[in-house]
């Protein structure tokens, strides 16, 4: 072969290797983007002290960011109101840059293609999380990755909460128990012993919400939805066991339905009920109620929901923030705000105002004073670190499915056949899923 031919072939080969065979370029897809001077809006659901704290954090961002990005935070109502407002805004092409949304709400927005895939920002070599990603709770980050939309990341978590068991330790000790229940059998025995009609005391204040149903199912190693996003599974063995167990405790008088909103907190504070199951966001309210209860303050805390799994499996939930499709500069500015709000310094301030869990592990180093004043928060945080955190499905239509789940749970407690009711529920949930599918 002639020398020139060899030379040309070698050059072409090297060129091919450099262009296609080498590792992927580390260049940012947003390399040319400049968010300087951009003004964006953030629709949130917070009020009073939480709103003040959020606005202070945003003010800090406005004054400190190197791009002179200005963010305006606007209260958009509570979750349902904010959802209506956002749906209307999407139709009118008048969206904010960032909006607070539960995962299923974000999915509903994405049916209209209104949101940005944040995977592009999270993984970006210039603007992404980089090495800091390891500091985030991976389970939290995965919640916003939606299988219905081919793995798009439709939101980013600013905070999270857990569904836990609240228990009265003094009462347990009086009954001869040394700690909260680990298994559902323990739970049953404790409820039975606590129940005394003569003193109007009972074991458990029933929470018929869909989140609590999910918590019960995963505590038994089950799931309520298919991982590929194709539908729900509400007629599994674990679901039937959960409902049968609660029905048994209810029929024997060991648990009661609560008619008044937050009535279970009052009963807990007044030593009427031994256990409740609720969000960790309620810790300050429980603390306040217990301090003012009929019997005065008593020793109480939180524990993992009783479980049959080797490690506790806990329902982790909370609204994320989603970035809407506007223009590349505003989208990037929105992402930069999200990164700022999830820095440990900002997260520590946010935790102190909201009692939510931070999304960064290193935040706990800055929470010494807060944890010292709130030992039950530490107990909850320790549970987060020692359990398997699972999230409810982020599917479109899940809000409607939640209503159906609560209705089915109530029907079962009122005497309906468990298998038939769950069969109907499964059918209805999957019908809703199909109708709402993108």
């Amino acid at each position: 072969m002639r020398r020139s031919t060899v030379f040309i072939t070698a050059v072409l080969f090297v060129t091919a290797v450099l262009c296609w065979g080498s590792p992927q370029s580390e260049e940012s897809v947003f390399k040319e983007l400049d968010p300087t001077g951009v003004q964006i809006t953030y629709w949130h659901q917070f009020t009073r002290f939480q709103q003040e704290t959020l606005e202070a954090l945003i003010e800090e961002f406005n004054n400190s960011n190197e791009w002179s990005i200005k963010v305006t935070a606007e209260f958009g109502g509570r979750y349902d109101d904010l959802y209506n407002k956002m749906v209307t805004a999407i139709a009118a092409d008048s969206v904010p840059d960032i909006v607070a949304a539960y995962q299923n709400e974000a999915a509903a927005y994405q049916v209209s293609g209104a949101l940005v895939d944040l995977n592009d920002y999270v993984d970006d070599p210039q603007w992404g999380l980089g090495a800091e990603r390891d500091d985030y709770f991976e389970g939290f980050l995965q919640q916003d990755v939606n299988a219905q939309f081919s793995g798009m990341r439709l939101g980013f978590p600013p905070n999270r909460s857990l569904e836990l068991l609240y228990y009265n330790m003094d009462w347990l000790k009086e009954m001869g128990f040394s700690g909260p229940p680990q298994s559902w059998d323990d739970f049953y025995q404790m409820c039975k012993k606590a129940t005394d009609p003569s003193t109007n005391q009972y074991g458990y204040a029933i929470n018929t919400g869909a989140s609590n149903v999910f918590a019960q199912v995963i505590s038994r190693g089950g799931e309520i939805a298919k991982a590929d996003g194709s539908g729900y599974t509400y007629n599994t063995r674990q679901m039937k066991d959960s409902m049968a167990f609660m029905k048994k405790v209810y029929d024997e008088g060991g648990s009661r339905k609560i008619a008044e909103p937050y009535g279970e907190q009052n009963d807990f504070a007044n030593w009427k009920v031994l256990f409740t199951m609720a969000s960790t966001a309620g810790l300050p309210y429980y603390a306040g109620s217990v301090a003012k209860g009929e019997q005065g303050a008593f020793d109480w805390s939180v524990a993992a929901i009783p479980h049959t799994t080797s490690r506790p499996a806990l329902d982790i939930y909370g609204a994320s923030v989603s970035v809407t499709k506007t223009n590349p500069q505003r989208q990037l500015a929105a992402w930069l705000l999200i990164k700022f709000l999830t820095q440990p310094e900002q997260q520590a301030k946010w935790v102190a105002a909201t009692n939510y869990f931070p999304v960064r592990k290193s935040t706990v180093e800055q929470l010494g004073e807060y944890i010292g004043k709130n030992p039950n928060y530490k107990a909850a945080f320790d549970l987060l670190l020692s359990s398997d955190a699972k999230a409810e499905p982020p599917f479109t239509g899940y809000s409607e499915v939640r209503d159906a789940v609560a209705a089915a749970y109530n029907k079962i407690l009122d005497g309906a056949d468990i298998a038939a009711t769950l069969e109907d529920l499964d059918e209805e949930a999957n019908r809703i899923h199909l109708e709402a599918a993108p």
Binding site: D81, A92, Y285, E294
Partner: protein, 282 residues
């Protein structure tokens, strides 16, 4: 039945009505009594029965109203609600009375067809209209401005229907007499029809007042800042995610409902006066 039987019946009727009234008023009493409790009392001393001492506060906490007023920016929202409601009621009365008069007393081609179409719009749920109305308001540049909160409600098929039904009962002879004397349609409406229609007009005003005063969803959708938000938005600040602040929430609710109750009593008196002063005699 003798006179004594009739008396017993009356007594029984009064007792039953009193019991019904008492049951109806319990929620209001609950709202007021628990708005005057401390947070501790809402936890430890709560009852739904007025005869239970726990129903009532040990020491009324009037400071709850001050806290609710300040925390929920009630001063601003109250002012906004007054302005929005006043503008809406005035506009609604003008459009409804003019339209109702035309449908009731004027003859023009397609009158009945147009009226039927108007009635048909009553079957459209408000939620369905949310997005198209918002699009129009957004395109007009009214977001976060007073027109967004008032203009969409300045006409109402229901109120037109209500007034039209009443106007239809006014004898045509009265209007013919006025016409012979040279009165225009507008003059007839203002000088004859409206004075005879105080009861339905006050009804329209009162119903639109309640609707506008309690409106939450539309104001939240079309406002972005507190600038023009009404009092119903202020109440949402006490709806927390994970725990109750019952005493403050109810204090806010009492503040919000006082104008509604006041308006009711004002309108009720006008109803009675309008009927007794009616010049119509068969």
């Amino acid at each position: 039945m003798g006179r004594s039987g009739s008396s017993w019946l009356k007594v029984l009727l009064v007792v039953l009505l009193a019991m019904g009234a008492f049951v109806s008023i319990i929620p209001f009493l609950y709202m007021v009594s628990h708005s005057l409790k401390s947070l501790a009392e809402t936890v430890t001393r709560s009852s739904a029965i007025p005869f239970d001492p726990r129903f009532w506060p040990r020491v009324p906490q009037w400071v709850n109203y001050k806290v609710a007023w300040q925390e929920a920016r009630f001063g601003l929202y109250f002012r906004n609600s007054v302005i929005i409601t006043a503008v809406t009621i005035c506009g609604l009365l003008v459009t409804s009375s003019l339209s109702a008069f035309a449908f009731a007393k004027l003859r023009f081609p397609g009158r009945d067809l147009v009226f039927s179409i108007l009635l048909a719009t009553l079957m459209i749920p408000q939620t369905v209209l949310l997005i198209p109305n918002f699009i129009v308001v957004a395109k007009l540049g009214w977001i976060d401005r007073l027109p967004a909160l008032t203009v969409p409600f300045l006409a109402s098929a229901f109120h037109i229907f209500l007034l039209r039904q009443f106007f239809s009962q006014i004898p045509d002879e009265l209007l013919e007499s006025a016409r012979i004397d040279g009165a225009s349609h507008l003059r007839s409406l203002l000088s004859i029809v409206v004075p005879l229609s105080k009861a339905p007009i006050f009804t329209v005003a009162f119903l639109s007042f309640i609707y506008t005063w309690n409106s939450l969803q539309w104001p939240l959708v079309v406002t972005q800042t507190p600038r023009w938000r009404p009092i119903a938005v202020g109440l949402t600040v006490f709806i927390t995610e994970a725990g109750p602040e019952t005493h403050l929430r109810l204090a806010g609710a009492v503040i919000a409902v006082i104008p509604v109750i006041t308006m009711y009593f004002i309108a009720q008196r006008q109803f009675t006066e309008a009927i007794t002063r009616s010049g119509l005699k068969e």
